[in-house]
Symmetry: C2
Subunit: 328 residues, 2 copies
């Protein structure tokens, strides 16, 4: 790394992000020592983000850091695991990493504080290539209580947290593919895309109540499809039931074909919300806990014996093949 060396970057900028967690040893040792709390297991997940592939070239490094951590935390939330620690592996491009370091480390600091985890280790290097960030995040979940993709049962109620589609609108705005006059709406959609906030407040409710859960990264319908195929069940979703923000409602009102527009929101992805399958006897408790946590939750269907996902707009079936949307 030109200028500031790897050692300095770790000691001066990254070590404070351990927040004194004893097992991280101030990033001075060969690794970290981590022990789950009594009765808890570690949920472990890992993601790699490459500049120009997973985020735009010259993206604000604060947002890169935030979104990288959010993507990992989102997986933990879907496993019902409270975020605790993460490891960070960065490959800096050889030309001028310094300009990005301040924003990147600031983004890490703000995101880890928002999501409740601390840095425990990792590796830093530089190469002639794109900026590449791998993160491994660890959370705690009571042993034997992790909801799984394949854990859903017939008659479970399908719910989704908060709202869907804002991140897709944020991406389309950046790409210039949609245009929106309302400045507040543009700012809202851009924040949904670049500074997503997974519902970390719901980890305990999810591991307490959900049979199955998955985070929405590929798109609501695609990720719901993963639950259906893993659980061997079918569902029908009315696009009118998919929760959207008031800003998205205003955009929908201006679209010539509401069904097609809602389908775009439901397939856009990058929402980092959670789809969960909740048994009937726990749905009241789950909704209560969401309300207490200040998180919106919406019922979007009921799981049934069979296979496949039927999508409707009111009474009308919606053809999903036309979007190149893979069947399950």
């Amino acid at each position: 790394m030109a200028g500031e060396g790897e050692f300095d970057f770790i000691a001066r900028r990254l070590a404070p992000l351990t927040r004194g967690q004893p097992g991280a040893y101030g990033l001075k040792d060969d690794g970290a020592i981590l022990v789950p709390s009594p009765g808890q297991a570690f949920a472990v997940t890992s993601d790699t983000l490459v500049e120009g592939v997973h985020f735009p070239v010259d993206e604000d490094p604060f947002k890169v850091a935030w979104k990288a951590l959010a993507a990992n935390v989102s997986d933990l939330v879907a496993m019902g695991a409270e975020p605790k620690s993460y490891l960070l592996n960065v490959v800096w491009p050889r030309s001028g990493p310094e300009a990005r370091m301040d924003g990147f480390v600031d983004g890490l600091a703000k995101a880890q504080d928002a999501f409740g985890l601390t840095l425990a280790g990792g590796d830093t290097t530089s190469a002639d290539g794109p900026w590449t960030i791998s993160m491994t995040a660890m959370g705690e979940v009571p042993r034997g209580r992790t909801p799984r993709r394949g854990g859903a049962r017939a008659d479970d109620i399908l719910v989704v947290t908060n709202q869907i589609g804002d991140a897709w609108l944020g991406l389309e705005l950046r790409l210039g593919a949609v245009s929106i006059d309302d400045e507040d709406a543009r700012a809202h959609f851009d924040a949904a895309f670049s500074l997503p906030f997974p519902p970390v407040a719901l980890c305990a409710a999810i591991n307490d109540c959900a049979h199955a859960a998955i985070d929405v990264s590929d798109g609501l319908l695609a990720d719901l499809g993963h639950i259906l195929s893993a659980s061997g069940l079918r569902a029908s979703v009315d696009l009118q039931d998919v929760p959207v923000s008031n800003f998205a409602k205003a955009w929908l009102a201006a679209q010539p074909d509401e069904a097609a527009a809602r389908l775009l929101l439901a397939t856009g992805g990058d929402d980092y919300e959670v789809i969960a399958a909740i048994p009937e006897d726990a749905i009241g408790r789950f909704e209560q806990r969401c309300e207490e946590a200040g998180q919106r939750v919406t019922r979007i269907g009921v799981l049934e014996a069979g296979e496949g996902l039927q999508v409707t707009f009111g009474e009308s079936p919606v053809e999903t093949d036309a979007l190149g949307f893979t069947h399950f």
Copy 2:
């Protein structure tokens, strides 16, 4: 990824590497669930390797996989932690990853079986850039028993496992910087460089006996320096005491300046052996356990109050500055 998709690569090639470990869920879920055995903590370490930086362009992908896993396992061994699980994050170059996949997965399979750990998760993507591999490895160590860089005490005996310098000779051979006629010696040095085997059989002995330990990746003297500076101690090492292989002895015999040649072996790095500081009352037990495990162990010095590392060749002091070798 051209041709074979990410999904197929994970399902067909990587999933078998979980060896049925239940918490890995066949790599089908958002993450893994890992629980240390009763009384154990997790040691967690992570490394990133980039083609053209950490391994040669067009290196045999079997060796890339082996060495990546060995580098992580080596950190665990130095923490006295039995290797258990690893996560793998790969960025494939967009052009032609297929040719490398068979060898890479075969290398992972052989290395994980040799070192005793299984795949638990990760992420796979492709980009226009160098082949990049991040690994995060987890091992188990009895709680509160991890030797640390800074844990050494005065009068502890410094030991190093097996032999030092063969990997450096393997690298120099590849670079054409040394020439050796003996074919067996060339094969031995190349294997030491490209297929290192950290002393995993010594994890329990290390956490039972060592006050401090570090793996030899930067070079014996540099890594010993890390123990000295972290522990606030000094040591004197006679290069004649540094254990070398019989092949390296033959090479040394042909060098005009044995002191200079031994210094190269002791600063070359990539050995993936362990330096440990063992208290006097445990040294007999440690040596006994090394013998039982079929691992050579050599005393190379005694820790003393003070600071800095003195290097000698017999009675003569050896100047280490000339090599650009940083003082501690």
